[in-house]
Symmetry: C2
Subunit: 345 residues, 2 copies
């Protein structure tokens, strides 16, 4: 088993830059699309054999240095007592969005063995066969809260902001509950065999830095405190976060994941003493391969001379991405020999 990925998480020198892709398992793969003709996304997630098969395929087909549990960030919500549907092309739609203190009080604690046993079983199956590390993951509390409050993906998050501005005590209660649930969920994933974790705070880039500092950062600190005892590296990822990176690093994470809207070198300067993951624009992979290759070279150059870079896209693989482009990108990253630590800078 290659430990390139885990070494980079710990900012130890690696022979090559490790690479994996968010949504490397999914719509871009013909095998996955064929599977989806027979099963819904939730059916795949709840069937450990199918989930493990989907999780593992990118390692064999693309040569990536890590696999990530195939799951949806909404999976733990049912355990909290939140009913939702996953609507194709739209994402989760919550039956009764949370708006009041009473709504928040009704949330149940998560009991992973009762609520998501299929996730834990899938992790066992993946670990039995995987030759690269397995990343477990969860949605970060802010992003989960935004789904729970808005009821669906919403661009401006006006209802979420309304709660955190107008009813900070309700907001803090909701976030505290989600922190507890997330710690329990991720602890169970690590106990089942996950070797690293990623927190997806996909929508946090909608916040002003001061609002992040007030309404999110203290909760994230408590979350990272709760994860420390698990002794696995944690990647802290968000999009649209170029103005939040210093605060996100203060909140926690061994590695900060960044999208493509900032130069990797600028992002790394902002997060300081952490690893960094990213940050190719997924849209570049829809163009002739030379476009992605050019951008990847810039990213690798930005990261030169400092251990702790994990190559990834800035967000998930887009559905129409050619598998061959992903394969060639893995090869390109692996052809590149990182400068030794203490080299260029």
């Amino acid at each position: 088993m290659t430990d390139r990925f885990l070494r980079a998480c710990r900012r130890e020198p690696t022979d090559r830059t490790p690479v994996w892709f968010m949504r490397q398992a999914g719509r871009s793969q013909p095998e996955y699309r064929a599977l989806r003709e027979r099963y819904s996304l939730l059916e795949i997630c709840r069937t450990p054999e199918l989930c493990a098969e989907v999780t593992l395929r990118p390692a064999a087909q693309l040569g990536v240095d890590a696999v990530i549990l195939f799951a949806d960030i909404t999976l733990p919500l049912l355990g909290l007592g939140v009913e939702f549907d996953l609507i194709e092309g739209q994402g989760p739609v919550i039956a009764r969005p949370l708006r009041t203190a009473a709504d928040v009080r009704r949330l149940r604690p998560l009991d992973p063995a009762r609520d998501v046993p299929f996730v834990l079983e899938a992790i066992h199956l993946v670990r039995r066969d995987a030759r690269v590390p397995l990343i477990g993951f969860a949605g970060a509390p802010f992003t989960l809260a935004s789904y729970l409050v808005e009821g669906r993906g919403a661009r401006d998050l006006l209802l979420t902001k309304r709660m955190l501005f107008e009813a900070p005590e309700v907001w803090d209660t909701l976030m505290a509950h989600l922190v507890d649930a997330t710690v329990a969920y991720l602890r169970a994933q690590v106990d089942a065999g996950a070797q690293a974790l990623q927190l997806f705070d996909s929508w946090v880039g909608a916040l002003a830095p001061d609002d992040y500092a007030r309404a999110v950062l203290p909760h994230m600190r408590r979350l990272f405190d709760g994860l420390r005892a698990l002794r696995v590296p944690v990647i802290h990822f968000g999009t649209g976060t170029a103005g939040l990176l210093r605060l996100m690093a203060q909140a926690g994470g061994d590695v900060i994941g960044v999208d493509w809207r900032i130069r990797l070198a600028d992002a790394w300067a902002l997060v300081g003493d952490r690893g960094i993951q990213g940050n190719l624009d997924p849209a570049a992979l829809l163009a002739p391969f030379e476009v992605a290759a050019r951008a990847a070279h810039t990213i690798l150059t930005d990261a030169a001379g400092r251990p702790g870079h994990i190559f990834n896209l800035g967000h998930g693989v887009l559905p129409h991405t050619p598998q061959d482009h992903l394969r060639r990108l893995v090869a390109l990253v692996h052809e590149h020999v990182p400068l030794p630590a203490g080299g260029a800078r």
Copy 2:
């Protein structure tokens, strides 16, 4: 007439920080909503008396230090030979989106006197009655191009990126055409009486910095070169640009407009030797006023001791914003006495 706004554009000291709001005329005003029961947005834009009335109202009602021409960034498109509809709640929908070199070659040059005479007449009427400076504006070429290529507002801009990645010569031809049209449009606005200009590059934050540098920056430089002879200050605004600010400042603009996703002090450090406009989250004005007041104080503190700050929101006023909050915010900004230049820093 107060010249606070124009002095700040030139980075000269002012008695108070000037303040105006993007979309200060529009859906948040009961008088505007009443007008829209009788006229469409385009009818208002094309009727100079109505347009002037709508443009001027915020100066009287809110006490802002500048008014901005009431218009839509799509107004010049008809002159280019592009047919579109403005769909309520969705924005412009282009009848035949531009996808090929032939599509781009069919664009006509803009002749403002022929294509947008109503805009120029409205500017005359506004200037006759205005007691604060009038800002003219246009959509920046990238944002216009993204509408023309996507056909409608699209979050990921995948078709736009596809053109700039796969067919850079087609893209450059399109951008060059839009630069010429925008220079002609803004020159006509200044000739008619506009005293400052703002370029709205609302969607440019979707680009990676290197792609901005390659596909947008050279065109923006030519645009700013073309505007220099007009001898009015130009504000260069975009959203989601925390990772692009250095490049946007390199492209041009006397003042850089920023959204709320970065601290004003951090943004100003990135743009360097320019004025700065922003940057309150418009959502803060939907909460109890104290929320906006607290954020406004932070912004004013960030800007202290350096002339060239124009207070604004980070994007347009949201439809449900109470007019009273806007009035109180103007008063709050005007109560604050900026430190003299050479003071705090």
